[in-house]
């Protein structure tokens, strides 16, 4: 037999005593916990009029949370939703919240839309990163486009990549097209509860092209990572990439569509939208839902009838739960860029309609 088995402690260890660990562990936890808080003081947040999350920070949930805190601190009414609220086809001065501000005569509404988000992800966003908007007035946009096909609804069994997978429910309810391994989901479920993780992603997205520092050095081998953190953030007015064609849908050559609508009582996105509503209400938010306006001009007769039935069902649910809402008639056809996104004039018209709506006026007056 070879010499006695070597059971020495280590060969290049850093061996801490229990007492040293009692110092090291709290120190590590303190740095990781305080970093996101301290960073908010280091990194200037220059809020512009009608500010919105810069397009390239669309996955930066820490920044979203920061915008929520800033808007909530100013007592604004928060307009929450997908790219319709964010204003995919328009500059930030032409979004729904911008037009509402113009009509209100003051910066009263904050654009908390996120380009590319959908109800399943919106639930996670509000739950994990929107804590600051607790007890505030929230205008929540409901876009039935997300029920327009099993794929939009995420209820298809066929796996495909979709936006914001780290925000969707990881275990329940089951999302059929989401097939991440259990370990991956568990990691996501844990990490999204850690403010440090969201902050780290913010730094990566803002200055390291979305990759971690180590990976970034491979593309920039002779640059100093610390120098890359310039604290300069993208403009909220940067257009989406690729730049969208901001012309009426008919001019773009888009044809009428016949959607394979998902039954509302089986729709995953509708179910998760309702959960988001319940979550906000449980947090003391006063909610006003804007349903649509969907571009019904773009639908075939059959599809339009199916849409109308769903719209009615949503209205019933909102009424039943005493949630004030506004469901405008479709805007003129030329004011839509696609199936659900208005153009600038469309937003203006929608804002005017809202300000003429009694339920909205009552809701707006309830703002603290």
């Amino acid at each position: 037999m070879s010499d006695k088995i070597d059971l020495r402690f280590g060969s290049n260890d850093v061996r801490l005593t229990p007492r040293e660990w009692a110092i090291a562990l709290p120190a590590i936890v303190a740095v990781l916990s305080l970093m996101p808080v301290v960073w908010a003081f280091i990194e200037p947040l220059r809020l512009e009029p009608d500010h919105r999350l810069p397009f390239s920070l669309g996955n930066d949930y820490w920044m979203y949370g920061r915008l929520c805190r800033a808007a909530a601190a100013q007592g604004k009414t928060l307009v929450v939703g997908d790219s319709v609220v964010w204003g995919h086809y328009v500059p930030k001065e032409e979004t729904l919240s911008a037009h509402l501000n113009r009509l209100a005569g003051e910066e009263r509404f904050a654009n908390l839309g996120v380009d590319g988000i959908h109800p399943a992800a919106m639930l996670g966003l509000v739950e994990h990163h929107g804590e600051a908007i607790r007890r505030r007035n929230v205008v929540l946009h409901c876009n039935l486009l997300w029920t327009s096909s099993p794929r939009h609804d995420l209820s298809t069994e066929k796996e495909f990549p979709f936006n914001h997978p780290t925000l969707v429910p990881q275990f329940a309810p089951r999302i059929p097209c989401y097939r991440e391994p259990f370990g991956e989901r568990l990691g996501i479920a844990i990490e999204r509860r850690l403010p440090f993780h969201a902050w780290k992603k913010h730094v990566q997205i803002a200055w390291f092209g979305g990759s971690d520092v180590a990976s970034w050095t491979l593309g920039h081998p002779y640059e100093c990572p610390v120098a890359a953190v310039t604290l300069e953030l993208p403009s909220p007015n940067e257009p989406p990439s690729p730049r969208p064609d901001a012309r009426p849908w008919a001019e773009q050559g888009l044809a009428r569509q016949s959607f394979a609508w998902v039954e509302l009582d089986q729709s995953l996105q509708w179910r998760l939208f309702r959960q988001a509503v319940q979550l906000l209400r449980s947090r003391g938010n006063r909610i006003f839902v804007v349903l649509g306006p969907f571009n019904e001009h773009m639908l075939t007769e059959e599809s339009r009838a199916a849409y109308a039935a769903r719209r009615l069902a949503v209205e019933d649910w909102l009424s039943y739960h005493n949630i004030p809402y506004f469901c405008p008639d479709p805007l003129p056809s030329a004011l839509y860029a696609d199936a659900s996104h208005p153009l600038a004039e469309g937003y203006e018209l929608l804002a005017r309609q809202l300000f003429a709506n009694d339920a909205f006026i009552t809701f707006d007056r309830s703002r603290k």
Partner: protein, 459 residues
């Protein structure tokens, strides 16, 4: 289940408190066995059939030995079952493919069907560990373990199950019997080892892999300097990857009151190839020494036979790593190197006249050169890399300065660790604490969230 993932964190946070709570009771070993099987079955529950087969065969073999007069057939049975499993799962594809290549080369129009077998994770490790018990019992170095569950726990203990250290029954099985107490110093030591291992894996090995992988995937696309740097980077990557795993395994073991053997001892500070193999994957090299080299005759049968034994052991060791000709060549290169330098290393000239730093650099250069064959996808790729290192233009390699800085820091740390400065530096509590905090924060701030598997899992 990888140590550096959230799944493992949750797993350990469940397993460890129950392990502590059941300490001193009859439930502790069953719980540890259950946890270990969950850990291993996480990859594929069918793999459990293999580990149960290997465990049962060796338990039965030793039981048979203890009850009968004929002991040899039982050892043969154990070796046959274990090596048979290894041969089937690891080498069947390699052997049939090599046969087909041979048939094609000599113009025989026949091809053996190549079996498409998935290699179970860590099979080479647990098979060796299980077999060790039977051989040790046969030699009288170990007494029979009456409790099957305890023996099964020894074979499958989750911290070291899939990539070692390959424990001897004389060490680990005895500890499982005696159940040494767990002190807060054990927990602190375990955390220390785990942190260092995690740093090696996440901050160093995975980082270097990002440079090495694309270069070795397309060696024809890179210049000589890039290939050279990728080779040096791989030498460090595999060390950090494997020793990082070992450190984490030993740390977990320590927290559970179990002392697993040292597996690495700053191998790149070795001053000779013999010294290198006393520092690199110690549990495997001593295994081969005890169960292959010495039974072959070791150095007791003259100079020539010693060299033959040494070379055979190295080639088998190469083949143990994987069923590819690249591993065979890697083993053969080390065999050649060892045979060629054995005499030299024992001379006074080498010991006294050549500066230690030069010796270390020479050993590192040779070991890194051999790693080319270990890492390359094919023998053809390996030759291409060697040729291009010396022949292709040395264009800008775009090797990150951060990687150079990290490697320099680690090399300096290892050098300090083996020098007289060690006590002066590491005796200082603020230095140790500061190092630990820095490592943890570096991992948190700078490393990605990937879950890259350990290199040695494939063996």
């Amino acid at each position: 289940m990888l140590f550096h993932t959230w799944v493992f964190a949750v797993f350990f946070l469940v397993v460890y408190p129950v392990y502590l709570a059941t300490r001193g009771t009859r439930l502790q070993i069953p719980w540890l066995l259950f946890a270990s099987y969950v850990f291993y079955g996480w990859w594929n529950p069918l793999y459990l059939l293999l580990i149960v087969t290997s465990t049962s065969a060796d338990y039965l073999a030793v039981l048979g030995m203890s009850r009968g007069h004929r002991r040899k057939p039982w050892v043969a049975f154990s070796v046959l079952v274990n090596l048979g499993m290894l041969a089937f799962f690891k080498y069947a594809g390699f052997v049939t493919q090599s046969l087909n290549d041979f048939f094609q080369a000599v113009g025989i129009p026949y091809a053996v069907p190549v079996p498409d077998i998935l290699l179970p994770v860590g099979i080479s490790f647990f098979v060796f560990q299980s077999m060790t018990y039977t051989i040790d019992c046969y030699r009288g170095a170990m007494d029979r373990e009456p409790c099957f569950l305890r023996y099964a726990t020894y074979v499958s203990l989750f911290p070291q199950l899939v990539a070692g250290p390959i424990e001897r029954s004389t060490n680990l099985l005895r500890q499982l019997r005696e159940r040494p107490p767990i002190t807060r110093h054990d927990v602190a030591d375990g955390l220390s080892l785990f942190l260092v291992g995690l740093f090696k894996k996440r901050a160093l090995a995975d980082y270097l892999a990002m440079y090495v992988d694309p270069v070795y995937a397309r060696p024809d696309q890179f210049g000589g300097l890039a290939l050279l740097l990728a080779t040096v980077a791989f030498a460090w990557q595999i060390y950090f990857d494997f020793s990082g795993y070992t450190d984490m395994a030993r740390g977990l073991g320590r927290m559970m009151g179990l002392r697993l053997m040292l597996n690495f001892r700053n191998p790149y500070l070795a001053t000779g190839l013999g010294d290198f193999w006393r520092r690199w994957h110690i549990s495997l090299s001593t295994w081969f020494k005890d169960y292959v080299y010495l039974p072959l005759g070791g150095n007791r049968k003259g100079e020539v036979r010693t060299h033959v034994n040494m070379a055979a052991t190295m080639v088998i060791s190469g083949l143990w790593h994987g069923a590819k000709w690249t591993f065979v060549i890697w083993g053969a290169l080390h065999a050649l190197g060892r045979v060629a330098t054995r005499r030299l290393e024992s001379t006074q000239f080498y010991a006294e006249r050549i500066p230690t730093t030069v010796k270390r650099l020479l050993v590192f250069a040779f070991v890194a050169f051999a790693w080319v064959f270990f890492r390359a996808r094919t023998v053809g790729d390996a030759w291409l890399i060697v040729r291009r290192i010396f022949g292709a233009a040395w264009a800008d390699p775009r090797f990150p300065l951060l990687a150079i800085g990290l490697l320099a820091a680690v090399w300096a740390y290892q050098w300090v660790y083996e020098s007289k400065l060690r006590d002066a530096l590491l005796a200082s509590s603020p230095v140790r604490t500061g190092l630990a905090v820095s490592m943890a924060l570096y991992i948190a701030f700078c490393c990605g969230g990937g879950d890259k598997a350990f290199i040695y899992f494939q063996f």
